[in-house]
């Protein structure tokens, strides 16, 4: 287990509520990002985020995992699956119709002219990738987001999903293949519309 997390959890067990606040803050972005992108269109990301931490609080004494992060994401994934089973799927009519001019991607891109990914407008790439991620089957999407949002290694992802490391790797490879294909199509569209 990561040292600060172990320490914070131990401090919280001794009654230091602020130590739990540090834990929540440390995982706020990766955990909420994972939940939000796994539940897009459902609108219950906040509730799931809250429930994850309530379970952590409630079950802190039962916690025996080596990695706090993988325990956290396992709880999150179970809650997402449970809620998905209970809820009827809600179609997000806004999904895929986001403002194309939305400037959300500011990363550096080197244009080597080698692949479609490289050639798509840098400003749109982040949004395009996430739109494509939304179309992935749930298990592949979970693996992809656990890698990108939480930076979990495959060994831990396999534990979270209760599967083998080879299966986790295979899911990631399928996800990558679909994303590359989607971005390739995007690139072709861009080429077709360009003067």
């Amino acid at each position: 287990m990561e040292q600060p997390e172990r320490e914070w959890l131990a401090q919280y067990r001794q009654g230091d509520v602020e130590a739990l606040g540090k834990l929540v803050e440390e995982f706020r972005r990766p955990l909420f990002g994972f939940i939000l992108r796994m539940t897009e269109g459902r609108g219950d990301a906040d509730e799931i985020f809250q429930d994850v931490w309530l379970r952590v609080i409630k079950n802190q004494d039962r916690y025996t995992h080596k990695s706090f992060k993988s325990w956290l994401f396992r709880i999150a994934q179970n809650l997402i699956i449970d809620r998905a089973r209970k809820q009827k799927p809600v179609v997000d009519l806004q999904a895929g119709a986001k403002d194309e001019d939305e400037n959300v991607f500011e990363t550096r891109l080197e244009d080597k002219g080698l692949s479609a990914v490289t050639l798509i407008d840098a400003k749109q790439l982040g949004r395009k990738i996430l739109d494509a991620v939304r179309t992935l089957p749930e298990e592949q999407r979970a693996v992809f987001l656990m890698r990108t949002e939480a930076d979990l290694p495959f060994k831990e992802i396999a534990k979270v999903q209760g599967t083998s490391i080879n299966t986790a790797l295979a899911r990631m490879q399928y996800a990558m293949a679909k994303l590359r294909t989607a971005l390739q199509m995007e690139y072709q569209e861009l080429q077709g519309t360009s003067p």
Partner: protein
Amino acid sequence: MKTKPVQELLLLAQTGELDEAQRARLETMLAEDKEARTYRDDLDRIFNGVRSTPMEQDVNPFVLKRIESQARAHTEGGRQGARRGGEVRMIQMWRPAIASAVAAVLLLFFGMTFIRQQKAETAQAPPVPATSAEVEMLAWDVGLDADIEDLNEILAMAGDGIEGMDDLVNELIRLEGLSI
């Protein structure tokens, strides 16, 4: 490009899950294979693209407040519960001893009260007048006492002046007013 092995190695390289031999193999593949390099670059860009995209929304501040209040309540509740649990365990452990002590104290209290009541009743009770039969008995007792005194005198005299059983019998007869 041997697609699957290269992709697996590239994915595992990102997370630092490769051993020395696998890393060396991957280096060779990347040096020799243009497609492998393209895959690596796409992988990096896709990861960077996702990671640098801001979230559409952040956690609701009320949710964070609720988590904090639950954390606080759980900690305080846990402490109080543990304290209560300890008290209950202590009481259960000492229950037989406490019950025995309480019973002993009650017994002592009632015993003392009873004895005090008895004493008070005895002290307050008026003297009982003697009946005629009892007066008779007392008179008889006085007569008997006088006889016993006489006998003692006789026995004392027997040690001095009276000799033999005949004298003693005669003296007894005299005292009783009988003649043989």
